[in-house]
């Protein structure tokens, strides 16, 4: 059962551009770490030959608290001395939550990465989609019942059991 206090994000880390280590373009083994808070982080695989323009195209599914204001994305590079952070981007949640578009909109976003000195160090390209819980994403006409009522739905299987009437934030289009 999905908790009310978490959102699930599908973040596809697509690629990075012009990543440098001490001004020199990195040669390989870059990977990205998405962190929503100290407990929730996911990382991509390393791009073993991508150099300073790595391509990951990897989807990460990560939970985020409803109250979170930022998520961080770090691009790191595996070197002989360990994992070095190449650059970090702080992504405001308001960039993909709220606003005028529907909640399940697939956002293509890009961010400037900054290194530990605060200097610019490349760009990271991602796409983000907020995963809307199943029972909230069906249109009213499909379900035939108003939302927010704790009623078991015969045909649909939500992992067993009756949905207890927990209010869920969901976005409906203005007109049907």
């Amino acid at each position: 059962m999905a908790s009310t206090f978490l959102r699930t994000l599908e973040i596809t880390v697509i690629s990075g551009e012009d990543l440098r280590n001490d001004r020199r373009p990195i040669k390989k083994n870059a990977f990205a770490v998405v962190r929503t808070d100290s407990y929730n982080s996911r990382r991509t695989d390393m791009d073993t030959d991508g150099g300073s323009y790595p391509k990951w195209n990897q989807k990460l599914v990560v939970d985020m608290s409803m109250h979170a204001q930022f998520i961080t994305l770090e691009v790191q590079c595996k070197t002989s001395l360990g994992d070095k952070t190449v650059g970090t981007a702080r992504i405001p949640v308001s960039d993909f939550v709220g606003g005028y578009v529907p909640e399940s909109y697939l956002h293509f976003l890009s961010y400037r990465l900054r290194d530990h000195k605060g200097e610019r160090n490349g760009i990271v390209n991602i796409s983000v989609r907020v995963k809307v819980p199943e029972y909230a994403s069906c249109s009213r006409t499909e379900l035939g019942i108003p939302l927010g009522m704790g009623v078991a739905l015969g045909q649909r299987n939500f992992g067993g059991g009756i949905v207890t009437g927990v209010p869920v934030l969901c976005n409906y289009p203005g007109k049907y």
Binding site: I14, S15, P25, K55, N57, A89, R90, I91, P92, D95, G99, Y100, V101, P102, Y105, L106, H107, F108, L109, S110, Y111, R112, R114, I123, N125, S127, P173, G174, K175
Partner: protein, 589 residues
């Protein structure tokens, strides 16, 4: 607007080809759906027409006048394009159908569809006298034939219809309605079917020669098509890979309009990039698309060659080209989307700052000439509105002013042009012109020049429309006489709007120095950055300063419009939004 590659970063960008998804596997900021300034300029300067969509017109008619005494008319149709000066240029003719007042001609007439201009077409139907029935249709003198009727329309009227067919009443020449019923003419438009094929490939080279002194070569590829005259015309170039003799380039996507056919020979040249512009040829090879497909299947490499000083000989190099991925796909074209119900929604915002000058003064940019000559604002509205109106099903256009002091005394940076507080739309291009003229009486010019509020409003409309349907794409035209004072806020608004189905055209009128504005139009490859660290997803802005119109030339405003189908396609393709089935149900005709 024209990419001269005098700036090194811009020069290293990939050029030409066809745009796939931005920020994903094939990402390049300068590819524009097949339309690219540098390549187009190259074509035009050599007198070769750039490649655009070819449309085939099929004609049929009904209830034609019966001119013959003993039998029915033998009709033939002729299609003309009406030029700016009113002259008619023949595009083609059908065959002669014998003895029919309801002919369905088989012979099609091809016309090139150009999104950015209004293309008026004129159709004449003739009854061909029997003594000419053995003469080839091309050689028939039209003055000797019996004229049966004329019809006119605009090409975009036909292609934007769901059925891609238009039925018109035939009239006398020069549009005078006849007293007699002359019948009707039906025109059906089809894109040539093969125009949807495109090929996506990933290529790499190995063992390239080193042409740089202190480091390795910085190779890039240029692919050209061989033309009949023997020369070659470039169709695309890859990005530059620095310091690498075994480079892998980002995926290339070539459309069939660019390479002609899979068997057409293409010249692939590999150059070493030099910031001076003197790129050094490393090697080249000649392969058709079919050859490249073979290289992919066989997983073999093809050797590059270098022209040898000995006449007629080539030196075979160690360097080889490999095709790692090769994929033929169907790309939906702009017209596929349009005829399945997708729309371009036009919005306009007009500068009411004081720098325009008092509208009562003939020197003012806002002066409305009583004899009808259009001022710069009116010209920009007409040129863009006239083209886009066909793509907007309800012809209701949001129209705003900015920088003016409205009746209630406050300066607003986004007020409704029609003067109402709630309704922000006007009807038709005429509605925009009328609201503009009225607003000049009711609004006092003030300032400063801020774009942020108008862009945010347009982004709001575009964002909200996504909840209702995914088939609308918005085009905001901002006409301004001055340099903006809120550059960072404007950049922030543009970055926020860059992931929405929205394109922004900015036209600068008057004599101000607009160089600062050109930074908004990221043609040099530098993506806009907001104050929060977000980078624009795609380049949605085109900026151009308006110049005096010279007769016969394409206006710069219309050159702006050329980019729109590409921007529209980029957005749709990046989200895998496909055109609906043909004749999909739509509430608006």
């Amino acid at each position: 607007m024209g990419n001269c590659f005098s700036d090194v970063e811009g020069g290293k960008q990939a050029v030409g080809g066809t745009q796939q998804r931005p920020n994903s596997i094939a990402a390049s900021n300068n590819n524009n759906g097949g339309h690219n300034d540098a390549v187009e300029f190259f074509f035009r300067s050599r007198g070769i027409q750039p490649l655009f969509t070819q449309i085939e017109l099929s004609l049929s008619a009904s209830n034609l006048l019966d001119r013959d005494i003993t039998s029915k008319s033998d009709p033939m149709a002729v299609v003309y394009a009406k030029k700016r000066d009113g002259k008619l240029e023949e595009l083609g003719r059908t065959e002669v159908v014998l003895n029919s007042l309801n002919p369905a001609w088989i012979e099609k007439v091809t016309v090139a569809f150009q999104f950015e201009i209004v293309q008026p077409l004129v159709f004449h139907v003739y009854d061909v006298d029997s003594k000419y029935h053995n003469v080839p249709v091309k050689m028939l003198k039209l003055n000797d034939q019996e004229f049966l009727g004329e019809a006119t329309c605009v090409l975009s009227e036909i292609v934007t219809k769901q059925t891609r067919s238009l039925t018109l009443n035939l009239n006398n020449k020069n549009g005078h309605t006849s007293l007699r019923n002359l019948g009707t003419l039906t025109i059906h438009a089809e894109e040539t079917v093969s125009s949807r094929i495109c090929v996506e490939m990933v290529v790499h080279c190995s063992h390239l020669d080193n042409k740089d002194l202190f480091s390795k070569s910085d190779p890039f590829l240029r692919i050209s098509r061989i033309v009949e005259s023997g020369g070659s015309v470039p169709i695309c170039k890859t990005e530059v890979v620095k310091d690498n003799l075994n480079p892998i380039w980002k995926p290339l996507c070539l459309s069939i309009q660019q390479f002609g056919s899979k068997d057409n020979p293409l010249i692939i040249e590999c150059f070493d990039f030099n910031s001076s512009g003197n790129h050094v040829l490393i090697g080249k090879l000649q392969k058709s698309v079919a050859d490249l497909e073979k290289l992919h299947i066989e997983r073999s490499g093809a050797n590059l060659t270098f022209p040898s000083p000995h006449h007629g000989h080539v030196k075979i190099l160690k360097g080889q080209l490999f095709v790692d991925q090769f994929c033929e796909k169907q790309q939906y074209s702009f017209l596929d989307y349009i005829s399945s119900g997708f729309e371009l929604n036009f919005m306009v915002a007009i500068d009411f700052t004081a720098s325009n000058g008092n509208p009562r003064n003939p020197d003012s940019l806002h002066y409305i000439d009583p004899f009808g000559q259009l001022n710069s604002y009116q010209r920009a509205i007409m040129e863009v509105g006239e083209v886009i109106q066909f793509y907007d099903s309800d012809r209701r256009f949001p129209a705003w002013g900015f920088g003016g002091r409205t009746i209630d005394g406050t300066t607003s940076h986004c007020f409704n042009l029609n003067g109402s507080t709630g309704a922000f739309e006007v009807e038709g291009v005429e509605g925009i012109m009328a609201a503009y003229a009225r607003a000049l009486h009711n609004v006092a010019l003030a300032g400063p020049t801020l774009f942020g509020p108008v862009i945010n409003r347009a982004a709001q409309i575009a964002g909200q429309s996504i909840s209702y349907n995914r088939t609308k794409y918005f085009v905001l035209l901002i006409i301004t006489d001055g340099v903006i004072t809120d550059l960072q806020e404007t950049k922030d608004a543009l970055v926020r709007a860059s992931d929405l189905p929205l394109s922004i055209l900015i036209v600068g009128v008057g004599g101000a120095d607009f160089r600062e504005m050109e930074v908004l139009d990221a043609d040099n490859g530098r993506r806009l950055e907001s104050s929060t660290g977000r980078v624009a997803t795609r380049d949605i802005v085109q900026f151009v300063p308006m110049r005096e119109l010279h007769s016969g030339q394409i206006s710069v405003v219309q050159a702006l419009l050329e980019e729109l189908p590409g921007q529209f396609l980029t957005y749709m393709r990046s989200r895998d939004i496909k055109p609906g089935p043909l004749h999909a149900a739509s509430t608006s005709a």
